[in-house]
């Protein structure tokens, strides 16, 4: 067990390093020069060189990478080329916003996906199963931004109601802060819920066919105990893995949902930074997101080993 954890940790390190290299080089491939963009047409050769030197963009790229990596190790993510604000400060302001949104979306996905999956599997091919599967297929096919538009559009046409778009800070009104995430989180969580529901249903159906479940029935246990205590525990192991993958899917979806609902989180920050070619900001956001996802996958793998005693590496 300890060996497995150690080996899994060792594998995560090169993954993170390669990811950091991708994070670092990707924004630098962006054509057009941030220096030219900043100085507009007023720039002459000398000014361009001066600004480049000031921003440290004139040194070889591997030197820049090495310095960046050292700085990141020390907790410095650099500062925005445009606003001169430290990237880390801006990220710590925006990360909780996206984390609230993503966490609530994941909650929605689990709270809908797992119970509905269980109910559908207990009576396969019944009316509820058929209904749940049809809705799940719809949920997977309709993209989040289409749902978001329909949700804002239809009530407006029918009842003249529009969702509020002004963002409320947590410090101003904690209740309103949480409430404003409900609609975006449900929209974001629906697609994940559909995937989780389908997987839970499939896995539970498989487990319910196993011999030990038949033994449990034969002992005369009630259905609730057999399904929830004996079967569900084992059916949920693969669902755990997919939950880890859903974190990445939700991070992607958050970019769009934040953009539609005007939520000042990481996604909006990223889109703005890409438009402005703000390298340190793009790198900082990507690095934070990737680290979160690598750590999530690592945690999922470790929990997996704890949950399933058959896994011995």
């Amino acid at each position: 067990m300890r060996n497995y954890i150690l080996r899994r940790l060792l594998v995560a390190i090169p993954s993170l390093l390669i990811a950091s290299l991708i994070v670092f080089t990707l924004p630098r491939l962006i054509p057009g020069d941030v220096v030219q963009l900043m100085l507009q047409e007023k720039a002459y050769g000398k000014d361009l060189e001066d600004l480049r030197a000031k921003l440290g963009l004139n040194r070889p790229i591997y030197v820049q990478y090495g310095e960046w990596l050292l700085a990141v190790g020390g907790g410095h993510l650099g500062e925005s080329l445009w606003t001169r604000q430290p990237v880390l400060a801006e990220l710590t302001r925006r990360l909780p916003v996206t984390a609230t949104l993503g966490g609530m979306a994941l909650g929605v996905a689990i709270l809908i996906g797992i119970p509905v999956g269980v109910v559908a599997a207990v009576r396969p091919d019944g009316p509820l199963d058929f209904f749940a599967r049809s809705v799940a297929i719809l949920g997977l096919s309709i993209p989040g931004f289409v749902t978001a538009i329909l949700v804002t559009l239809l009530p407006a046409i029918w009842w003249g109601w529009t969702p509020r778009t002004r963002f409320v800070e947590f410090s101003a009104d904690p209740a309103a802060y949480v409430l404003q995430f409900v609609l975006p989180a449900v929209i974001l969580g629906i697609a994940s819920a559909a995937g989780i529901m389908r997987l839970t249903r499939g896995m539970l159906l498989e487990v319910l066919r196993q011999d030990y479940v038949r033994t449990a029935w034969a002992k005369g246990l009630r259905e609730r105990i057999v399904v929830l205590k004996h079967a569900l525990k084992n059916a949920l192991i693969p669902v755990m893995t997919v939950l880890g993958l859903q974190v990445a899917a939700i991070a992607s979806g958050a970019v769009i949902v934040e953009w539609i609902f005007g939520i000042p989180g990481m996604g909006q920050f990223l889109v703005d930074a890409i438009v402005q070619r703000d390298y340190p900001v793009i790198q900082g956001i990507n690095l934070v997101i990737v680290t979160i996802i690598v750590v999530t996958n690592l945690t999922v793998d470790l929990i997996y080993a704890v949950l399933d005693p058959r896994i011995r590496y």
């Binding site: 594998v11 090169p14 993954s15 993170l16 390669i18 990811a19 991708i22 990707l26 924004p27 491939l29 962006i30 054509p31 297929i137 719809l138 997977l140 096919s141 309709i142 993209p143 989040g144 931004f145 289409v146 538009i149 329909l150 804002t152 559009l153 407006a156 046409i157 697609a191 994940s192 559909a194 995937g195 389908r198 997987l199 499939g202 896995m203 997919v242 993958l245 990445a248 899917a249 991070a251 992607s252 979806g253 970019v255 769009i256 953009w259 990223l270 889109v271 890409i274 438009v275 070619r277 793009i282 956001i285 990507n286 997101i289 990737v290 996802i293 690598v294 996958n297």
Partner: protein, 306 residues
């Protein structure tokens, strides 16, 4: 008595019972076993027809302004209404199918090629090469899809070829992992060992013994990938990083003008929304059904949704 029997002469050739051609029979059986898959197939077929014959089906050009027809609601003349630039929404939806289909098929073709090359070589060669390649794939896969594509699109600039390239790099990573696994299991078969014992070279083993047996996996991955790619294209165009206007991508029709006129002319947003959802639904259903029929082992393998 004898005579009457003799008059019933057996014709030289008995009339054969009328049978459907083999392909039609296969399709019919598929439809009966997988009704949802068949519906998906019909949607995909309709989409293909729309894309190929867009200039015949659409009553107007996608960028044609029709005089005195600004934001008109759906009518007999304009089935889906007109937009704020007096263009026929139905015509634009039809031309939009061309974009979705082009991006979808080109991306999947390119992604499959890359994924098969990386996946098969990684499994076949093994060793240090495999370890290094798999770590890069790991790193690549730990990025959220949209974040990678956005960064890539920013790096490459907008336009159709760049969009296809960016989307296919992303799809290739995940697919290569599945193809690698499939190749590993094929290579464990005795016939591969036998071929090697008979002195077959690497090229021969890969092309004659490994690739044909991995083909089912590759075909299924491609079909399921199509829906995902179409979804990703519309999401990118929605954010303004896809195909630049005036070319009508469904995603782009929802953002920009579609969004600002949404309350005044809801048909501008509703019909492209329906088109995206139907197309993705069609490819998903067809892919699911194909997977169940061709390779039941892959059932329940993940499809990411963004």
């Amino acid at each position: 008595m004898m005579n009457s029997v003799q008059t019933l002469s057996v014709p030289e050739r008995l009339p054969r019972a009328w049978r459907l051609p083999a392909l039609a029979r296969t399709l019919l059986r598929f439809g009966r076993r997988k009704p949802l898959g068949a519906i998906g197939g019909v949607i995909v077929l309709a989409l293909l027809v729309m894309a190929i014959f867009a200039d015949r089906i659409a009553p107007y050009a996608y960028d044609q302004s029709i005089p005195a027809a600004r934001t008109k609601p759906p009518s007999a003349q304009f089935w889906m209404g007109t937009d704020n630039l007096s263009r026929d929404v139905w015509s634009r939806v039809v031309y939009g199918a061309r974009i979705s289909v082009t991006v979808g098929f080109a991306t999947v073709a390119l992604a499959t090629l890359m994924a098969a090359t990386v996946g098969v070589s990684s499994a076949y060669l093994g060793g240090v090469y495999d370890i290094v390649v798999q770590r890069v794939v790991d790193a690549w896969m730990s990025f959220p899809a949209l974040v990678v594509i956005l960064s890539l699109m920013a790096a490459l600039g907008p336009g159709l070829p760049n969009l296809i390239f960016a989307l296919s790099i992303l799809g290739a990573a995940t697919a290569s992992r599945v193809i690698r696994g499939s190749t590993l299991s094929v290579m464990a078969n005795p016939y591969v060992e036998a071929a090697r014992a008979l002195g077959a070279g690497h090229v021969r083993i890969v092309t004659v013994y490994v690739l044909p047996n991995v083909m089912a996996t590759i075909i299924i991955l491609s079909t399921i990938g199509l829906g995902t790619v179409i979804l990703a294209e519309s999401a990118l165009s929605f954010l303004g990083f896809g195909i630049p206007p005036p070319y009508p991508s469904w995603g782009a029709m929802l953002s920009g003008s579609g969004r600002s006129f949404i309350y005044h002319a809801p048909w501008m947003a509703l019909f492209p929304s329906a088109a995206i959802s139907l197309a993705v639904f069609g490819f998903n259903m067809l892919g699911d059904a194909l997977r169940d029929v061709l390779d039941p082992r892959l059932r329940g393998s993940g499809r990411s949704s963004s």
